[in-house]
């Protein structure tokens, strides 16, 4: 197998033209999946025998919480790639991904609080999973703040990459917090290997929601990266040509 395609993706220009036709189909697919999954889950899935209808927030809470962690994992990998191989595309990815991840972590916290009120009787509790997701949100905000505070682009790239890599340590803490500490938060809803404990009519819409949100976020990141590439490379001739072409000159 040849790795040329992978190395080419490190170049902003190549990435721009490679990702351009991908974003819109991904966005449409994501929206479609989200619509199908949410309507199925929120309207047609049967009510839970214990929690009644309040369990339905799972169709928002679980996908968003998964995305919040996946986004940070991607951030950490990109940071590592930048520190080791100095790929130009990695800091662009970090800058585009961080705000989306922050929003995901925030929605996960808020939807968790809304879900916690009817089931646990409290909005917030200092449980290991909740606290570690709060830390995840704060890490995202720290990365965004650092990125905005540093005027020097090279320094900002390096700095955010370093923080992204160091912050990876939080992910196993989130993942295993429900296993290591005996706390209120329930265990994982999905595992890769085992059959879910829920009936199929309840977990299939959840799966569709998760896939849909992944596609949705991927398309948003691609769009943000494209505009970031345009901004960073605004002196190069291909960007000028691209802008002229898009405006019909």
């Amino acid at each position: 197998m040849r790795w040329v395609w992978f190395h080419k993706l490190g170049s902003p220009k190549y990435f721009y033209f490679w990702s351009k036709p991908l974003a819109l189909p991904l966005f449409c697919l994501g929206c479609l999946c989200l619509a199908v999954g949410l309507v199925w889950g929120l309207v047609f899935a049967p009510a839970d025998y214990q929690q009644g209808n309040s369990f339905r927030i799972i169709y928002i809470h679980v996908p968003v919480a998964m995305l919040a962690q996946s986004c940070y994992f991607a951030l950490g990998v990109a940071g590592f790639v930048y520190l080791v191989w100095q790929m130009k595309i990695a800091p662009i990815f970090i800058k585009s991904m961080a705000p989306i991840g922050a929003v995901m972590a925030l929605i996960a916290l808020v939807s968790g609080a809304i879900w916690g009120k009817p089931t646990w009787g409290t909005w917030w509790i200092w449980d290991a999973r909740l606290t570690s997701v709060l830390v995840l949100f704060l890490l995202y905000m720290g990365i965004i703040a650092l990125q905005n505070a540093l005027d020097d682009v090279v320094l900002a790239n390096k700095a955010t990459a370093v923080v992204s890599v160091v912050g990876l340590i939080n992910l196993p803490i989130i993942k295993y917090s429900v296993v290591w500490w005996n706390t209120l938060h329930q265990g994982a809803t999905f595992t890769l290997m085992e059959k879910p404990a829920m009936p199929a009519v309840m977990w299939i819409p959840l799966l569709i929601c998760v896939v849909g949100l992944y596609c949705f976020v991927a398309s948003l990141v691609l769009w943000r990266m494209q505009s970031e590439i345009m901004q960073r490379e605004h002196r190069s001739s291909w960007v000028k040509q691209e802008v002229m072409y898009n405006n019909g000159f």
Partner: protein, 220 residues
């Protein structure tokens, strides 16, 4: 310049600026004093909370001490000299943390008997508190110095360093305070101390390299 001369000069600089160390300790005592005054001064509240109060105050004092470590070095150009000196930059950063740790944590430990009396910490838990500070604070320094190195070239960076670094301190505070609380109620605490030591050792391996990357990015 050699590694030993670097360590010596670092310690000498810290010794000549005694006021900084004194300020950090005063700040620490003031934060601790806020809790009995602000929340509740009865021994029933203070005794179980004392470990947490001392740790939170120590974290803040250490952050204050660590936030501006590279500021002077950056401004007078000696940071650049370190980068081009031909010595291993991660190793120099490690020595820097050692010097800083000695100059900040030892004074904190010296005022600890006084504070534990003020907060009516049970005498059985006192040595556990000292142990958590000894094995836990290196991790605070190793993580904090990364943030300090990242923002060395900024003028106003104190707030940013706090925002960046404090989230990483959560697990350390959790394990340290649970060790003290476990000692107070007679539960085994050696596992929690081992976790703290593990985090310090992990950050010892990890942080000098990250700090060196950040320093190189800051001075270039």
């Amino acid at each position: 310049m050699t590694y030993t001369s670097f360590l010596k000069s670092e310690l000498l600089v810290l010794w000549r600026r005694k006021q900084d160390v004194v300020n950090a300790v005063l700040f620490f005592i003031l934060v601790v004093a806020l809790f009995p005054i602000g929340v509740n001064s009865s021994p029933e509240f203070l005794s179980p909370a004392s470990g947490g109060i001392i740790w939170c105050a120590a974290v803040l004092a250490i952050l204050m001490a660590i936030e501006g470590v590279f500021k002077e070095d950056y401004l007078d150009g000696s940071l650049e000299q370190l980068v081009v000196s031909g010595l291993s930059l991660p190793l120099l950063m490690l020595l820097k943390v050692v010097a800083l740790w000695v100059s900040v944590v030892i004074p904190l430990l010296l005022v600890m008997p006084l504070l534990s009396e003020m907060l009516s910490l049970p005498s059985g838990a006192f040595w556990v508190l000292i142990m958590t500070l000894l094995v836990g604070t290196p991790c605070l320094f190793f993580i904090g110095i990364i943030g300090s190195a990242l923002t060395a070239s900024l003028k106003q960076s104190a707030m940013l360093v706090m925002l960046l670094i404090l989230p990483f301190y959560f697990p350390i505070i959790i394990f340290a305070t649970s060790a003290v609380q476990a000692a107070q109620v007679g539960l085994p605490y050696s596992g929690l101390l081992a976790m703290l030591l593990a985090m310090s050792l992990l950050s010892l391996v990890f942080s000098p390299f990250m700090t060196a990357i950040a320093i190189k990015a800051s001075v270039s």
